[in-house]
């Protein structure tokens, strides 16, 4: 009976999470961006619900890629890795101690990041295609230079983001670890049930700020959207996704917003997602607050190039390290 209850709780929570997450992009676009920019904006259901449904039923176009099947499978792998993160932080799975550790969360988040590198490497859109005849004008100074696809460029950027961009998020994830002296989610949650939420400590506040910046970087939101800058690489690694694979991407993004918020409530408030607990409303509230804050920040920011990106990441990483140091005080 307990096993059945656990399965029902896990599946129920997952469904609720998916149902909430599909509204988040719409809320971000309609209520924040559009309001700030004094325009009507899209219908709230358009971005997260109607667009994926529409794309799901469109004709699938095989992209120009050396490995089209793998390329099309990547959004599904990304979605599955995020679902796995959500399962890990749920209390019903704490019995599998080794799996439900912060290391697993970090590893799965890395999978999500690495997928962008593959997406970019495997995509060759028409945007940078070389013609089968000399397509350079008379008087051109440079001939026979290797031409890079815009997606390859974004793939390179994704690689850089793995190297340095996600520092703040991972440092912030380790603040609760150091404070509770446990790498296991269960240990971190138990520590907070005894000592109160980590968020209400100085280290917790600093960690939360750093976590939020990492959240924005991971979601490639302005000003940290160098992976898909409209000024050069346009959609970046996602450019060639069409039909149902684009629908998966949309769903993944919305779900990632919810999952990261759930990770935050678990690690900083000691409230793991659980459908049959009133605390689920706190998780949902945080899942709503984060995109709203992110949308406000992004509406008032230009896109950062590396010149701004490096110092910002370095600065917030230092704050994250300070937060870890404060955990010892």
């Amino acid at each position: 009976m307990t096993v059945i209850n656990s399965i029902i709780t896990v599946i129920g929570t997952l469904i609720v999470a998916l149902l909430v997450s599909i509204w988040l992009p719409g809320i971000e676009r309609k209520f924040i961006h559009a309001r700030i920019q004094q325009r009507v904006g899209p219908p709230i259901s358009s971005v997260g619900i109607m667009a994926p449904i529409k794309f799901f039923f469109k004709q699938t176009i095989i992209p120009n890629s050396p490995m089209p099947r793998l390329f099309n499978t990547l959004p599904i792998i990304s979605l599955l890795s995020i679902i796995a993160i959500f399962l890990i932080i749920m209390p019903q799975l704490y019995i599998y101690t080794v799996l439900t550790s912060i290391i697993a969360v970090v590893g799965l988040l890395k999978v999500e990041e690495v997928i962008y590198v593959f997406m970019g490497s495997l995509s060759k859109s028409v945007m940078s295609l070389k013609m089968p005849f000399p397509d350079i004008v008379k008087g051109a100074k440079h001939y026979n230079i290797q031409r890079s696809f815009l997606e390859e460029l974004s793939s390179l950027r994704a690689f850089r983001l793995i190297a340095f961009g996600s520092f703040p998020l991972y440092i912030a994830l380790f603040v609760p670890v150091v404070m509770s002296k446990s790498i296991y989610i269960e240990g971190i949650v138990l520590y907070q049930q005894i000592n109160g939420p980590i968020l209400f400590t100085l280290a917790g506040v600093l960690g939360a700020i750093v976590f939020f910046i990492g959240y924005m970087i991971l979601l490639n939101e302005y000003p940290f959207a160098i992976l898909k800058t409209k000024a050069d690489v346009i959609e970046g690694p996602l450019m060639e996704y069409a039909a149902k694979y684009r629908a998966y991407l949309y769903v993944t993004r919305g779900f990632l917003m919810f999952v990261l918020a759930s990770v935050f409530t678990t690690l900083f408030l000691g409230i793991p997602p659980n459908l049959f607990s009133w605390n689920i409303f706190i998780t949902i509230a945080v899942a709503l607050i984060f995109p709203i804050l992110m949308a406000i920040m992004s509406a008032f920011s230009p896109i950062f190039t590396y010149k701004q990106f490096y110092p910002t990441v370095a600065g917030f990483s230092i704050i994250g390290i300070l937060a870890i140091i404060f955990t010892f005080i």
């Binding site: 004094q38 325009r39 945007m127 000399p134 100074k141 001939y143 896109i303």
Partner: protein, 377 residues
């Protein structure tokens, strides 16, 4: 070819990144080849000619009035500038004296066009920067200018105000129109001041635009840059100060010294109040009298030239008249003069800044596409 590469490839060029002819950051069809090394642009080539319509060829042999109307179709943003300059060529060639009131109304139209062109430029610049909120805000402010243009000309674009010898009777400014223009100007001034304050005090924007796309004064002159692009490097050349139509008006020539994106944006921002100042002077001192001189007769004339200062720089029109028809028409828009500056400005900056460095020169490639050379492949 090899020798060329030796000369230009002193730095190792690893990769070429091509943007266009269709690209989300480019509002017009053009292609830019960026030669990059670790995402830093080492050289650039801009190719235009994709939108060639052959307007000069179409003008050939047309009655001059009809040809003038056609020039308005060259550009949707500075349509008034083209028809005005084309009319100036005919007036100069035939020797027509334009009534003073018409001259004032032409200046009002031109300055309103400068307002909307600069606001469009600023909005596009902000969009390329990734600041959509400011871009939207500027489009919102620009709507007031578009409405004023509609009130005078009857259209949001291609107003058809100037005709040979003056302006069209439907574009006469009565008291109601003057009042609406004054109210609109007050609103624009208030909103644009508020925008400018927020823009220059935003550290994130300043960080993105300061020291990016730098064009030195020496290079700007060497590359033949014109208009606000040249003025952003500290060269105080504005053809309006030499134009007869602008003689009655007092205004300052705006210059900046750094030649970067920031300077370019600031020159345009600061030119907006100057344009408003000119319009107010024109409205305050609008002379009474007729708006069109119809007492002229067509004569044959050799090639006659006219230069005027338009929002993007110096605009050149020339043609000859033969039996009332246009011959040997040549048009040179400011953007063609600024292409060299655009290419130069991208060098040494990150790829993401390359489009910004191009946009800072306010390109209008659709009106630049004047002549085309067919190369046999």
């Amino acid at each position: 070819m090899e020798e060329d590469n030796k000369i230009t490839d002193k730095k190792v060029i690893e990769t070429e990144v091509t943007m266009g002819t269709v690209h989300s950051a480019a509002i017009e069809p053009y292609r830019v080849r960026l030669f990059v090394e670790d995402e830093i642009v080492r050289d650039a080539e801009i190719t235009v000619g994709i939108n060639h319509r052959g307007i000069e060829r179409i003008m050939e042999g047309l009655p001059v009035e009809k040809a003038n109307s056609l020039t308005e179709k060259i550009c949707g943003i500075c349509s008034n500038s083209h028809i005005w300059n084309s009319c100036l060529v005919a007036e100069k060639a035939i020797g027509i004296e334009v009534p003073e009131r018409a001259q004032y109304i032409r200046v009002i139209m031109e300055e309103l066009e400068r307002l909307h062109s600069h606001m469009l430029y600023l909005a596009h610049g902000n969009e390329v920067l990734g600041h959509e909120t400011f871009a939207m805000r500027l489009f919102y402010i620009r709507e007031t200018v578009m409405e004023l243009l509609r009130i005078i000309g009857g259209n949001r674009v291609q107003y058809g105000v100037s005709i040979i010898g003056g302006i069209r009777p439907r574009c006469e400014l009565d008291e109601m129109r003057i009042q609406k223009i004054r109210e609109g100007l007050n609103l624009i001034e208030e909103k644009i001041t508020e925008f400018a304050d927020r823009f220059v005090s935003d550290p994130m924007i300043m960080s993105r635009i300061t020291g990016v796309g730098v064009l030195t004064q020496k290079q700007a002159i060497k590359l033949g840059a014109t208009g606000p692009t040249l003025r952003s490097t500290g060269v105080g050349i504005d053809l309006r100060s030499e134009m007869e139509s602008y003689a009655p008006f007092d205004f300052d020539i705006i210059t900046q010294n750094d030649g970067d994106v920031k300077s370019n944006l600031l020159v345009r921002v600061l030119e907006i109040p100057e344009a408003i100042k000119i319009i107010r002077q024109a409205l305050d001192n609008l002379p009474e009298g007729k708006i069109t001189n119809r007492s002229w007769e067509m004569v044959d004339a050799p090639i006659t030239k006219s230069y005027i200062e338009v929002p993007r720089g110096t605009l050149y029109h020339s043609y000859a008249l033969e039996d009332g028809r246009v011959r040997n028409s040549i048009i040179r828009t400011p953007s063609i003069a600024n292409i060299g500056a655009m290419q130069y400005a991208t060098i040494g900056h990150h790829i993401t800044d390359a489009q910004l460095a191009i946009v800072q020169c306010d390109p209008c490639f659709t009106c630049t596409d004047r002549a085309i050379q067919i190369i046999k492949i």
